[in-house]
């Protein structure tokens, strides 16, 4: 047992030479692709995002350009042709808009609002959570009391209360969604940062007399990212769903910027006369988006959970 087999030395050498980031990234990718459903979900999600980004380029018509729509085409069932010969694959709404185009544009608003509020809430929550964990003591107590207090109220209720006071609008719903979400991020970050803070590398950083800001953002933050990513994906799905719900209730986005939720609301009144497609298809689009985000989130949680690390 004194001599190592040559091949093993070589593999060890190769492993040592490859940059650490790349190997962990590679492992992450191979772990993630183990679950075929999650890979499919990720691809679906990518398609949804691409549709949202390029909606103006790929939509059959611009549903909010009055010159392109004709009220005579209103409430046509899926597959019917317009006065000008265009086919409405998913039917039209009461104004004669092509539903497919309306859904593409709606996705843009739904995803945009969800992603933007999620991102701002993530930044805000991370900073607050890091501050709570790093400073501890009274700062920590006050912040966590506030977090606990907020989490004891259902998210929809807080959003409802805020919008009741602020009124409707894209900026207002983003504010409401940020207010609802920051606490989840703060709690997650604080939890993992408390664990990380006690580790030796932070002590070493202190020993090197690095500045507080540098320690928190360069050393502590990268190590609390994995759980944050998991919470982030789930929260974005929640945010999109919540926005749709609030818009459906008529207190979310304004009529000039219809998200998927507002499209479903528009179709609701035609439901009773059997015109299902105005509500049905936007709902399917919403469902596909939410399910794919949740499936990707589930797999991310499994892959990034250190307790399940193989």
């Amino acid at each position: 047992m004194t001599e190592m087999p040559e091949t093993e030395i070589q593999t060890n050498f190769a492993a040592a030479k490859a940059p650490a980031v790349e190997t962990s990234l590679r492992r992450f990718i191979s772990d993630f692709t183990e679950n075929r459903i999650a890979v499919c979900a990720l691809m679906v999600l990518l398609v949804v995002v691409l549709i949202a980004v390029f909606a103006p380029l790929i939509s059959p018509q611009n549903p909010y350009n009055l010159a392109e729509i004709d009220i005579m085409d209103g409430r046509l069932p899926p597959g019917s042709a317009s006065m000008s010969g265009m086919t409405f694959w998913l039917g039209t709404d009461d104004q004669g808009r092509d539903m497919l185009s309306a859904i593409f544009y709606g996705l843009r608003i739904s995803l945009g609002v969800g992603a933007m509020s999620g991102f701002i809430a993530l930044c805000l929550g991370t900073c607050i959570g890091l501050a709570a964990a790093y400073f501890g003591g009274r700062v920590d107590t006050v912040i966590m009391r506030l977090v606990d207090l907020q989490l004891s109220f259902p998210a929809i209720l807080i959003a409802l209360m805020l919008l009741a006071i602020l009124g409707r609008g894209v900026d207002k719903i983003v504010i409401a969604l940020i207010t609802v979400q920051w606490a989840y991020y703060a709690r997650t970050v604080r939890g993992s940062a408390l664990v990380e803070r006690g580790k030796e590398y932070i002590e070493a950083a202190h020993g090197l007399a690095l500045g507080k800001v540098r320690i928190v953002f360069r050393h502590l933050m990268p190590n609390v990212l994995p759980p944050l990513i998991v919470v982030g994906t789930v929260q974005v799905a929640h945010a999109i769903l919540l926005e749709a719900t609030l818009s459906f209730l008529g207190i979310g986005v304004p009529i000039t910027k219809p998200s998927l939720g507002l499209l479903i609301f528009t179709g609701f009144e035609y439901m009773m006369s059997g015109k299902y497609w105005i509500s049905f298809f936007p709902g399917i689009a919403l469902l596909i988006t939410i399910v794919s985000i949740n499936l990707v989130g589930d797999q991310l949680r499994d892959v990034l959970n250190p307790r399940l690390q193989r």
């Binding site: 209360m161 009741a164 749709a244 209730l249 008529g250 709902g283 939410i290 399910v291």
Partner: protein
């Protein structure tokens, strides 16, 4: 124990005071009450008189004290739309909301626990996988959209269930309830199932996770080793032990159900307090909005307080931890 309760009571009152400040100032400072409360066709002299009558010329902190004093007497002003006391209008709607929420709660327990138990006992069977897949769907489905689709299928296409309202009601102890008449039950079924869907998924997941944990415990192994029948092991030893956490979580979810009933009530035109607030927001009926916000905060603070106290009774560690902190 009493120290713990007193501390929690003080904290809860602080939350209510803070919320009353936030609600009062956001309604009165962000929005201008003069525009909202006074007829815009008044001339300057009439306007001044009206401002004086409403106490709007007083410093803001005096106005706040006035608001608090009135709130304690149950006076949140009159609804602009209905012309009745805002508080009374809301209180009238509370039973309908509670009936819906409790029915949904019971449904989620009755459906969720058996399915979750099955999925936990036979994790690899295709039926369990279907149940778990369904529960993911339950989390992802937008409640309001499912409600619309239910109306589409059961009310429009099949025509077997009514789509809106409460139906025939019976008065018991001065409270109108739907679930005692056949017509009322038919009206209650769809909204309750709709509201329960999310919770059913939650109960399934909790029960499954609990079952999988409990069946590995020594006492279950011992019960099996003693030669007890499967039925007895499952229904006595396993079920009893998973019920405690599941019921606790479900109890906590009651508040959530009340909050979410806003959505279901809007879809099914169920005349509860959620429908009232949505209508009030759309019509800018401020007294109703303020009264609703204060009542809902009070309700949730009370629910949280009760839950905290119950927890500390059931689990002394919570109490001790709080005293240490």
């Amino acid at each position: 124990m009493s120290v713990f309760i007193i501390r929690r009571l003080i904290q809860s009152s602080l939350v209510i005071v803070a919320m009353s400040l936030i609600v009062f100032f956001s309604v009165n400072v962000i929005g201008n009450p003069v525009d909202i409360l006074i007829n815009p066709e008044f001339d300057q002299e009439e306007m001044d008189r009206a401002i004086k009558a409403l106490g709007l010329d007083l410093p803001i902190w005096q106005q706040y004290l006035h608001f608090v004093k009135n709130a304690f007497q149950g006076d949140f002003g009159r609804s602009f739309v209905f012309g009745e006391s805002a508080l009374k209008l809301i209180i009238q709607r509370v039973p309908a909301t509670l009936e819906l929420a409790f029915t949904a709660l019971i449904l989620s327990i009755l459906i969720g626990i058996p399915l979750g138990l099955f999925a936990g006992l036979r994790p690899d069977s295709p039926v369990s996988k279907t149940i778990m897949g369904g529960s993911i769907l339950g989390f992802s489905l937008p409640t309001f959209w499912v409600g619309i689709m239910m109306i589409m299928i059961f009310a429009v296409v099949l025509g077997v269930l009514p789509s809106t309202g409460r139906g025939e009601t019976v008065t018991i102890l001065g409270i109108r309830v739907s679930f005692l008449t056949w017509d009322g039950l038919k009206h209650l079924l769809m909204p309750a199932v709709n509201l329960a869907l999310l919770k059913i998924s939650l109960v399934i997941r909790l029960t499954r996770a609990g079952t999988r944990e409990v069946i590995l415990q020594d006492y279950v192994k011992f019960a099996r080793a003693k030669g007890l029948s499967d039925r007895r092991v499952i229904f006595v030893h396993v079920l009893k032990n998973i019920l405690i956490p599941v019921i606790t979580v479900i109890g906590l979810e009651l508040g959530n159900l009340i909050a979410f009933s806003v959505v279901t009530e809007t879809v099914f035109a169920w005349p509860g307090m959620g429908k009232l607030i949505i209508d009030a927001i759309q019509l800018l009926d401020r007294p109703i909005i303020v009264a609703y916000l204060m009542i809902i905060v009070f309700m949730f603070v009370t629910i949280n307080l009760v839950v905290d106290i119950l927890y500390s009774v059931l689990d002394p560690r919570v109490r001790l931890q709080d005293i240490k902190a």
